[in-house]
Symmetry: C2
Amino acid sequence: MKIHNFSAGPSILPQEVMEQASAAVLELDNSGLSLIEISHRSKSFISIMEEACELALRLTGLSGKGYKALFLQGGASQQFLMTAYNLLEKKAGYINTGTWSTKAMKEAELFGKVVEIASSKDQNFNYIPEGYDIPSDLDYLHLTTNNTIFGTQYKEIPDTQVPLVADMSSDVFSRKWDYSKFDLFYAGAQKNMGPAGTTLVIVKEELLGNVSRSIPSMLDYTVQIKGGSMFNTPPVFAIFTSLLTLRWIEAQGGVEAIGKKNSIKATHLYGEIDKNSKFIGFAAQKDRSEMNATFNLVDPQLAAPFDALCEAAGISGLKGHRSVGGYRASIYNALPMKSIETLVDCMQVLEKKY
Amino acid sequence: MKIHNFSAGPSILPQEVMEQASAAVLELDNSGLSLIEISHRSKSFISIMEEACELALRLTGLSGKGYKALFLQGGASQQFLMTAYNLLEKKAGYINTGTWSTKAMKEAELFGKVVEIASSKDQNFNYIPEGYDIPSDLDYLHLTTNNTIFGTQYKEIPDTQVPLVADMSSDVFSRKWDYSKFDLFYAGAQKNMGPAGTTLVIVKEELLGNVSRSIPSMLDYTVQIKGGSMFNTPPVFAIFTSLLTLRWIEAQGGVEAIGKKNSIKATHLYGEIDKNSKFIGFAAQKDRSEMNATFNLVDPQLAAPFDALCEAAGISGLKGHRSVGGYRASIYNALPMKSIETLVDCMQVLEKKY
């Protein structure tokens, strides 16, 4: 049976990407060697790394604009501390939109003063705050563009006079927007970019070198840029598979075309959530994520029959995060419309039967 | 043509491991889902992680002895700073046996006083120092058990009253020895354990919690232990493939049996280096590594014909590191005797022809 994979991450990747990655583990480009047994200093791998970096910049419209792309290790959680280690001299502002923003703030507090500029905690993070003032003396303002757990997403990028830093782990490469408004953004691969094990960082070079502390080499963006993401051995498989996914995104027409498809998918699902009397959405309508749709049953008693319907239809990974409960449909780039339709069918069957 | 892969790392892994890893990227255990698209919180992946940790402890004889095994990200280079971040309160001692020891010292200096207890730099690191005093007031003593670049390896573990910390990136699981003499050791996967992208850390729990500084969560061993190596999303593919390799090591008879095979392979190659008039070994005989054999041509003019012979025989990855020059044959666990024999044949042909 075809599985409809709604997992929040690690999550579905394009089928052709998985086939190509699997083949490369056996043999890379008729070399007689596996992708995972070649030197990262070989011509083959250097070419993979360079293409991945170039493609990441091209897809975000940042080629030739003073940015560098890095493929590092440690996930967004390591970026929580690296951003602060590299950028926080005195005071940084954070917009708190959920679990991950909160964690980012906690790590930054080890390095300087952290100011919570705005928060949606009062409503269990079901919206994106608006109408706040951004002090002009911040080293940077940090935000989380998409909140995987709560299902909210920024639609507009805040205007700010201070450098803008963002965790885009769950929506990078999912839509067209002005990436050049950000001075640094990062994303764990395991949503729209590749398998877990690498983290994309795109940073404007002029942002770096302005803190007075000494930074350990591995955590220093400048060192990583100088090493071309190969200060030490990079996570070869995760980077190669990310490259395959980036190529697939470009072949789909880039982030603008992907974004249109994502909007159609999200609109179809949210449409059903809104009109189906058995379900209620969690996030504020204006801030709904096109990556993670969070929703609940109006009557919790219907959980057993709904879960059974989903299971029979091959739906996997729909359980909501414990902070929200209910359901979460993660509908990343690679999730086909067919999976959305299958879920909507289950919701409609539930409504008709009960 | 069959390639004989002497790459120093990422390096050869057992063929059956690459086949199983490749298959899992398409589908894990008839689940209908790829290894790289399932949640790391799924039963399937938790079971993979637990088995990998258990097996790492069992193979090193450390089960039930107060140690924890972790699979982290960032390679040995990240461990250079993590060991110091977690353990260095006042003063640590380092034995400097080459490039990697030197880098480890550099990172540690950000966190406290670093004392070079002994060094073999005077002879371009071609030996392992002996006959030094170890101060009793060190927070720990750090050493590099095998020096990939220079081809030296500890045969005995130094006796010390202070905690012993080791970088075992290039020889963990390659031989039987008393791992319980170490309080913490770490190893980037990409030699004997798996693909690049994860790092094994085995640490005695009682060693932790003794520094006064605050440690960022991702860099805190205690946090990582509490999270079962899943404080954040782990590098799923690298850990799964490491588990496959650890299973293969156990099926070979464990580290004792593997170590015997490695000794036979190394003896055969060093035997040829010593008796062949065209070659000269780099490392001191008593300290020769059974993982990386470094050697040079007596007459550099023979490089072209020797390289041609090697290429014709399907030998790959034999070029020495720029710090040493000449050749380096990395002869890790998975390298078959047939590859050693092929190399020895090329050396013998060179001697006969010139």
